[in-house]
C-alpha cells in the first residue's frame, strides 16, 4: 500500500464503494430499499471515479511540470487550466511560481552576462518580481553596482595609466626629438668649430709669420736708424772738413792776393830799375862820347863807359826778364785766384747741399726712429695677438672636442629614451587592445608623435625612413578610425573637421620630407618638416579636444 499514491488510494476507495453499492443492490434486489441505496452508493462511487480521473490528469500535469522544474527546466508550464477550484488555483500558482522563478533566473543570468561584458548598467529588473525574488534581485543589483563601480574605477585607472603612458610616450618622444635637434645642432656646431679651429690655426700661423716679418722689419728699421745716425755723423764730419777746406782755400786766396800785390810792388820796383838802367845807359853813352873827345885820355874812360853801358843793358834785360816773369807769375796768380774763387763757390755750394742733406738726413733719422718705435709696437701687439689667437684656437678645439663629447652623451641619452619608448609602446599596445574611440584617439596621438620623431631622427641622421609603404592619412590608425564607422559619433564635432586638413598635411609633407631627404635636398626636407611639424601640433590639439569631448 505504501507504493500507492493518495489519489490512487482515493480511487481504490471509490472503487470499493462502487463494488459495495452494487453488492447491496444485488443482495437486496435492485428495487428494494436496500437495492436503491446500493445503486445510489454505486453511482456515487462512479461519479467519484470520473472526478478522480480528471483530478488525476491535472495532478499528472502538475507532477510533470514540477518534476521538469525540479530537474532545472524552468520553461515548463501547466497549460489549459480550467475551472476555479482549488486544484486550478494550485496549478495557476504553480505557473506563477515558475513565472517568477524563470523571470528571476533569466534576469539574473542576463544581468550577469552583461556584467561579464562590462555592461554593469544592465541590472535585474526588480519590477514584477515578488518577495524574496525581489530581495535577491536587489542584492544582486547591489553587487553589480559594486562590480560596476570597481570596473569603472579600474577603467578609470586603466584610462589614467593609458593617458599617463601616452603622455610618457609623447614626452619621451618630445625628449628624443629635442635630443635629435640638439644633436643635429651640436653636430653643426662641432663641424663649424672644427672648421673654425682650422681657420684659427691658419690665422695663428699667419699672425706668427707677420710677427716674424715685423720683427725683421723692426730689426732692419733699427739698423737703418743706426746707419742714418752714422750717416749724419759722417755728414757732420764732412761738413767740418768742408769748412776747414773753405777756410784753407780762403786763406790761400788771401795769400795769393798778397803775393799778387807783392808782385805789383816788384813790377813798380822793376819799372824804376828800368828807368835807372835807361838813364845809366844814356849816361854811359854820353860818357863814351865825352871820352872819345878826350881822346886817348879818355880811352880808359871810354872802356869804363862801355862797361857801364853793358851793365845798364844787362840790367835792362834782366829787368825785362823779371818783368816778363812777374807778368807770367801774375797771370798764373790771377788764374789761381779765379780757380780759387771757383773752388770757394763750389765749396759753398757743396756745403749748402751738405747742409740740406744734413737736414734731410735728420728728417729721415726722425722718421726712421718713429718707424722703428712703431714697428716695435706692432711687433709687441702681434706677439700678444699670437698668444690670443693661440688661446682662441685652443678654446675652439676644446669646444669642438666637447661638442663631440656632448653628441656622444646625447646619443647615449637618445638610446636610453629609445629603450623607454619601446617599453612604453609595448605597454600602450597591450593597453590599447580594446578599440574604444578614446583609446584610438590616445593611440593616434602616440602614432603621430612617433611619426614626427622618426622624421626628426631621419633629419638628425639617427635613422632611415622609406616613403614607399609608409602610412598616409587614410591608412594610419587615426585615418582608418576617421574613415571607419566608429568615428560616426564625432563627424559633426568641430575638432574632427578641423583635424582633416592638418592630418593630411602631416602625412603628405612628412612623405615629401622623406623623399627630399633621400634626394639630398636637405633645406627642402627641413622646410617640409617644419610644415609637417606645425600641422602635427594642430592635429594633436584636435585629438586632445576630441579626447576631452569623449571623456
Amino acid at each position: 500500500m505504501n507504493s500507492l499514491s493518495s489519489v490512487s488510494k482515493t480511487a481504490l476507495m471509490a472503487g470499493l464503494i462502487l463494488v459495495l453499492g452494487l453488492a447491496l443492490a444485488v443482495v437486496d434486489g435492485p428495487l428494494s430499499p436496500g437495492g436503491i441505496a446500493g445503486l445510489a452508493i454505486a453511482l456515487a462511487g462512479l461519479c467519484q471515479i470520473f472526478w478522480m480521473r480528471k483530478v488525476n490528469r491535472q495532478v499528472a500535469k502538475a507532477r510533470h511540470a514540477l518534476s521538469q522544474a525540479a530537474d532545472g527546466n524552468l520553461s515548463v508550464r501547466v497549460l489549459n487550466i480550467n475551472g476555479s477550484g482549488s486544484l486550478s488555483a494550485m496549478l495557476r500558482s504553480l505557473n506563477r511560481l515558475l513565472d517568477q522563478t524563470e523571470a528571476f533566473a533569466k534576469e539574473a543570468n542576463d544581468a550577469m552576462k552583461a556584467g561579464a561584458e562590462g555592461r554593469f548598467f544592465r541590472h535585474i529588473i526588480v519590477k514584477g518580481l515578488r518577495g524574496e525574488f525581489a530581495q535577491y534581485a536587489l542584492r544582486v543589483n547591489q553587487a553589480l553596482d559594486v562590480m560596476g563601480g570597481n570596473d569603472a574605477k579600474l577603467a578609470e585607472l586603466n584610462k589614467r595609466i593609458l593617458e599617463s603612458s601616452v603622455n610618457i610616450s609623447v614626452t619621451v618622444n618630445e625628449g628624443a626629438m629635442a635630443n635629435a635637434r640638439i644633436t643635429s645642432g651640436i653636430r653643426h656646431a662641432r663641424d663649424e668649430a672644427q672648421g673654425m679651429a682650422a681657420a684659427t690655426e691658419e690665422l695663428v700661423a699667419s699672425v706668427q709669420e707677420i710677427s716674424l716679418r715685423s720683427d725683421e722689419a723692426a730689426q732692419l728699421s733699427s739698423e737703418a736708424r743706426t746707419m742714418t745716425d752714422d750717416g749724419q755723423q759722417s755728414m757732420n764730419a764732412a761738413m767740418s772738413e768742408f769748412e776747414a777746406i773753405e777756410r784753407t782755400v780762403n786763406d790761400a786766396a788771401g795769400r795769393v792776393e798778397a803775393l799778387s800785390r807783392a808782385s805789383q810792388a816788384i813790377v813798380e820796383i822793376l819799372t824804376s830799375i828800368e828807368e835807372i838802367a835807361a838813364q845809366t845807359n844814356l849816361l854811359a853813352l854820353n860818357a863814351t862820347i865825352e871820352a872819345a873827345r878826350a881822346g886817348e885820355a879818355g880811352k880808359g874812360f871810354a872802356v869804363v863807359a862801355n862797361e857801364v853801358k853793358g851793365l845798364a843793358n844787362q840790367t835792362a834785360r834782366a829787368t825785362e826778364d823779371i818783368g816778363r816773369r812777374i807778368s807770367n807769375l801774375r797771370t798764373e796768380m790771377e788764374g789761381i785766384g779765379a780757380s780759387m774763387h771757383l773752388g770757394t763757390e763750389a765749396i759753398a755750394k757743396g756745403r749748402h747741399a751738405m747742409e740740406e742733406m744734413g737736414d734731410r738726413m735728420s728728417g729721415i733719422g726722425q722718421l726712421v726712429r718713429e718707424t722703428t718705435t712703431r714697428m716695435a709696437d706692432v711687433s709687441a701687439i702681434l706677439t700678444q695677438q699670437t698668444a690670443a689667437s693661440k688661446e682662441i684656437s685652443d678654446g675652439i678645439q676644446h669646444v669642438a672636442s666637447q661638442a663631440a663629447d656632448n653628441v656622444k652623451a646625447i646619443d647615449l641619452s637618445s638610446g636610453a629614451l629609445d629603450s623607454v619608448e619601446k617599453q612604453v609602446s609595448h605597454l600602450l599596445e597591450l593597453m590599447s587592445a580594446d578599440n574604444s574611440p578614446e583609446r584610438t584617439l590616445l593611440m593616434a596621438k602616440v602614432d603621430h608623435v612617433m611619426w614626427r620623431r622618426k622624421l626628426i631622427d631621419m633629419l638628425a641622421g639617427r635613422g632611415d625612413l622609406v616613403a614607399e609603404g609608409a602610412a598616409d592619412e587614410t591608412t594610419c590608425r587615426l585615418g582608418r578610425w576617421m574613415h571607419g564607422p566608429a568615428a560616426q559619433l564625432y563627424t559633426d564635432k568641430a575638432a574632427f573637421r578641423d583635424m582633416q586638413e592638418p592630418h593630411r598635411v602631416v602625412h603628405q609633407a612628412g612623405l615629401a620630407a622623406i623623399r627630399a631627404h633621400k634626394e639630398n635636398r636637405i633645406l627642402e626636407a627641413e622646410q617640409l618638416f617644419a610644415q609637417m611639424d606645425q600641422a602635427s601640433v594642430q592635429v594633436l590639439a584636435c585629438l586632445d579636444r576630441l579626447v576631452a569631448g569623449a571623456a
Binding site: 520553461s75 508550464r77 497549460l79 489549459n80 487550466i81 495557476r92 505557473n95 506563477r96 513565472d99 517568477q100 524563470e102 523571470a103 533569466k106 534576469e107 542576463d110 555592461r119 548598467f121 544592465r122 541590472h123 529588473i125 519590477k127 514584477g128 518580481l129 515578488r130 560616426q488 559619433l489
Partner: protein
C-alpha cells in the same frame, strides 16, 4: 477573426505583476500567463497557437520588431517599450524583456517574454520617438524600404546621443 476598432482606452496591470508569454521559433504562442490573459482580454485557448502579433498595435513601428527579432536571432536578450492592443480594442503599454529559451544543449527552442508596467514619464518619450519612426516608415511605399529607413533613423538617433540601444532603453 475580425479585429475590433481601437477604443483609445488604456488598460493597466500592477507593478508587481508580470505578463509572461512564450512562443515557438515561429512566434506562435506556446504559453501565456493569467496576467496576459486578463490584460489582453483573451482566453488561453484563443492565444495558444496564435501568432504573438495578435496583440500588435498599429501605433508600433515595424522597425522596432525587426530590431527585436534580429537581436533574438543573434541569441541576445532585448528590452523594448511596446504598445499592445487588447482584444477589445483597448491598448496597454509594456516594458518587454524578450530572451531566447534554450535547451540543455544550448539550442534555441523558442522565445520567452516578461512584460512589466511602464513608468508614466517614459511613455511620451517613447511615443515621440515611435511617431518619428512611423512617419519615416510611412514615407516609403515599399514596406521593407520604409523599415530599413526607419531602422537607420533609430540607429542615427542613438548614435547622435552616443549610446547603445540597450543603454538608451534602460536609461529612460
Amino acid at each position: 477573426m475580425v479585429e475590433r476598432p481601437l477604443t483609445g482606452v488604456e488598460r493597466n496591470f500592477r507593478d508587481d505583476e508580470l505578463i509572461v508569454s512564450k512562443t515557438d521559433l515561429q512566434g506562435r504562442i506556446t504559453y501565456c500567463n493569467d496576467v496576459f490573459m486578463r490584460v489582453a482580454g483573451y482566453q488561453e485557448n484563443e492565444l495558444l497557437g496564435a501568432p504573438h502579433s495578435i496583440v500588435r498595435h498599429p501605433g508600433m513601428p515595424r522597425c522596432v520588431f525587426k530590431l527585436l527579432w534580429d537581436t533574438l536571432e543573434a541569441g541576445k536578450e532585448i528590452f523594448a517599450y511596446v504598445l499592445n492592443r487588447a482584444k477589445s480594442g483597448d491598448h496597454y503599454w509594456v516594458f518587454a524583456h524578450v530572451t531566447p529559451d534554450m535547451n540543455a544543449s544550448g539550442q534555441v527552442t523558442g522565445y520567452h517574454s516578461n512584460r512589466r508596467t511602464v513608468e508614466r514619464h517614459v511613455i511620451p518619450l517613447v511615443q515621440g520617438l515611435y511617431a518619428q519612426l512611423l512617419a519615416e516608415e510611412a514615407k516609403h511605399s515599399d514596406r521593407k524600404a520604409g523599415m530599413a529607413a526607419a531602422t537607420n533613423m533609430l540607429l542615427e538617433t542613438l548614435s547622435a546621443k552616443g549610446v547603445s540601444y540597450e543603454q538608451f532603453i534602460l536609461g529612460l
